[in-house]
């Protein structure tokens, strides 16, 4: 099946990324000849086990961790559930969780079903955000109580790219003896981070956001932090996560982390410059366009812009005609009937929330592509505005 990836301008990397050619190359032997079970006694399996450990080392290196602190999961969502449920189970008397209003559904929806899952009544504090998407540190401090089992705050927001000061927040939590988890799925591979320089207990990362395959994730568990497994079963991952390892994807993720380390500078210079050019260009050429999210403390690749008086799905479909791939926070694209909870939490007006478009770049994007998008967008928006009962022209 041919999906024509060479014909699209892919600017939806926060949704998922292409598997890097080097990553695919590293994976292939484990999809063909090297199919042994890493836990087996024979060399045939054992050599595969070695490759898994090598990958583990590479991932640990990217995030400044020890290899023993890396637990393989099937995805970021599993890592999130594992961390939060573990904290609740290791401290059964503590029933309070502190999180934010702008978390990914993997954390947000989990927190909404805790009572059903554990059979106990829980209290969840969801910190509000300012209009620019940032958190109020005073309110955060005030939210921490003796009953708090865990704090879960994302490192980078998937919709706006806004960064939260999770390292400082973890320090505050640890002062009170509270566990700290961060969903760093969007941050790892895009910005440098070093677990030796912070006190975060748990960190989630996801392969398919950094040019590794879908279906592989990692939960970082700090040495010494209490941990209760989520998936019970075999003795894999030293009893922390049962299930035969997704070897090929693990090897792929290892290679991807290596690459991410090598490309980190480029991501934060060339890619950032492309994002800035795209963003400035769109805001300048299209009237009534609003940037969603703090302009400074953001991921280098993300730009979330609202075009007032027109609707997101309609914009995306016109962009699609030109082969441009992006996402929207509109109600029609959310799967529910409400626009993005992140934008609503930021207080973005309805005139803008429905017309928001998220561009998320990667090292594979070029300046030509940015120029092409800058060329096409003004007319797309203008034509839809012609049709809109709210646009006065």
């Amino acid at each position: 099946m041919d999906c024509g990836s060479d014909k699209v301008i892919y600017m939806d990397n926060n949704a998922t990324t292409r598997i890097a050619p080097e990553v695919l190359e590293a994976m292939m032997p484990f999809l063909e000849d090297c199919y042994g079970n890493p836990s087996s006694m024979h060399t045939f399996g054992g050599q595969v086990g070695k490759a898994v450990e090598q990958a583990r080392g590479r991932i640990a290196e990217l995030i400044g961790a020890e290899p023993e602190e890396i637990v393989f999961t099937s995805c970021g969502t599993e890592s999130d559930s594992t961390a939060i449920l573990s904290a609740l189970q290791s401290q059964p008397e503590q029933r309070h969780i502190v999180t934010t209003r702008v978390e990914h559904p993997a954390v947000k929806n989990l927190c909404e079903t805790l009572d059903l899952l554990t059979g106990h009544k829980h209290k969840v504090t969801r910190l509000m955000v300012e209009a620019d998407g940032t958190l109020d540190m005073m309110k955060y401090q005030e939210a921490l109580t003796e009953d708090t089992a865990i704090v879960s705050v994302m490192w980078a927001n998937n919709e706006t790219g806004v960064l939260f000061p999770v390292e400082a927040m973890a320090a505050m939590a640890k002062e009170r003896g509270i566990l700290f988890h961060t969903d760093a799925v969007q941050a790892v591979g895009k910005i440098p981070l070093n677990m030796r320089e912070n006190q975060i207990d748990f960190l989630s990362l996801s392969g398919h956001k950094l040019h590794a395959p879908k279906g592989i994730g990692v939960l970082y568990v700090r040495k010494g932090s209490p941990f209760v497994p989520f998936l019970h079963g075999g003795h894999q991952e030293h009893g922390r996560r049962g299930g035969t390892e997704n070897v090929a994807s693990i090897v792929g993720l290892g290679r991807a982390c290596q690459l991410a380390g090598e490309m980190m500078k480029e991501e934060n210079t060339r890619v950032r410059a492309l994002r800035d050019k795209l963003e400035k260009g769109l805001m300048a050429s299209i009237p009534k366009s609003i940037l969603n999210g703090h302009s400074e403390d953001r991921l280098p690749n993300t730009s979330n812009i609202s075009f007032e008086y027109v609707e997101g799905e309609a914009i995306l479909l016109h962009m699609n005609q030109h082969g441009i791939c992006a996402s929207s926070g509109s109600a029609c694209t959310s799967g529910s009937l409400e626009p993005s909870h992140v934008l609503r939490a930021m207080g973005v007006a309805f005139t803008a929330a429905h017309g928001s478009i998220r561009f998320s770049l990667s090292i594979y994007n070029t300046e030509e592509e940015v120029d092409f998008v800058l060329d096409k967008m003004p007319k797309i928006i203008a034509d839809l505005r012609e049709m809109s009962p709210f646009w006065e022209g």
Binding site: Y309, Q321, C332, L337, H354, E386, P389
Partner: protein
């Protein structure tokens, strides 16, 4: 992500009749920025009550724009009376169908048409007199009932797909279920086959009470027991066993093999009798 038909794609990419009719005979303005859907329909009607022109302006997704476009094509050349008969199903059909989550876009088209015709005729819309059930999207009970009737809806989820009611905070879900039950029952009564001669709930209760008084209670009283009718809901009959029956370990047998059997024989054979307070 949505599977759109070719017709929808055509009407979205090259919509017909975009704009506003100059000096319109009628204007229909529905939806809002808050909702994420809005449609302004303007029509020109001649002295023979024929719609000679129709234009639209829409804020919304592909389904909303396509629905508006195809609607204007449908009504141009129709008499106002004919146009007034157009349903949202007609709009969806003209597009070759819409994903079920997008059916509310076709409903919006119909509402704008209604509003435009009402404006032309100078009357107040009957729908405007409904009571708001869903606060998030401003949907009234009359709108929900109409959607249930016209599109044969059978679940709260379907109501949400067609009207958006219940799709926001969800607080109105119970009320929607209530409306659904009432409306569906009302429809079933109308369309029940003549041979069955369905009983109304009132008739059913009266008959059950009769059988209880005439036969069942005297029999139970002979053994020191008694029975009381608590509620009747459709085919569910709730009773309360009293006296000696209350604590008896054979009470379940009495309930099922005697009371339920008797009531099934003498009232209607689909009754289900259970104990309750």
């Amino acid at each position: 992500m949505w599977e759109y038909t070719n017709k929808v794609q055509q009407h979205f990419m090259q919509p017909k009749n975009v704009g506003e009719v100059g000096n319109p005979s009628g204007t229909g303005d529905v939806g809002s920025l808050a909702c994420g859907d809005a449609l302004k329909l303007t029509i020109k009607v001649d002295e023979n009550d024929l719609i000679v022109d129709a234009k639209f302006k829409t804020f919304g997704c592909a389904s909303a724009i396509a629905s508006s476009s195809v609607l204007t094509e449908l009504i141009k050349g129709m008499s106002v009376d004919e146009a007034a008969k157009i349903t949202n199903e007609d709009i969806a059909e003209a597009l070759g169908g819409l994903p079920k989550e997008k059916m509310h876009c076709s409903v919006m088209g119909r509402e704008a048409l209604e509003a435009a015709i009402a404006d032309y005729r100078g009357v107040i819309l009957p729908m405007a007199q409904g009571e708001v059930v869903c606060e998030c999207f401003g949907v009234t009970d009359l709108e929900v009932v109409r959607a249930i009737r016209e599109s044969g809806l059978r679940s709260v989820e379907e109501i949400t797909h067609f009207t958006k009611a219940g799709g926001g905070c969800g607080k109105c879900e119970d009320r929607l279920r209530e409306i659904l039950q009432k409306t569906v029952e009302g429809l079933a009564e109308k369309s029940a086959p003549v041979q069955e001669k369905r009983m109304t709930t009132l008739q059913k209760i009266k008959k059950i009470e009769q059988v209880l008084e005439r036969e069942i209670r005297p029999t139970l009283k002979k053994d020191g027991g008694d029975i009381e009718l608590v509620d009747v809901d459709g085919d569910f009959v709730t009773v309360s066993l009293r006296g000696a029956c209350a604590g008896c370990h054979s009470s379940r047998t009495t309930l099922k093999e005697y009371v339920e059997k008797k009531l099934r024989e003498q009232v209607v054979d689909s009754l289900i009798v259970e104990e309750g307070k």
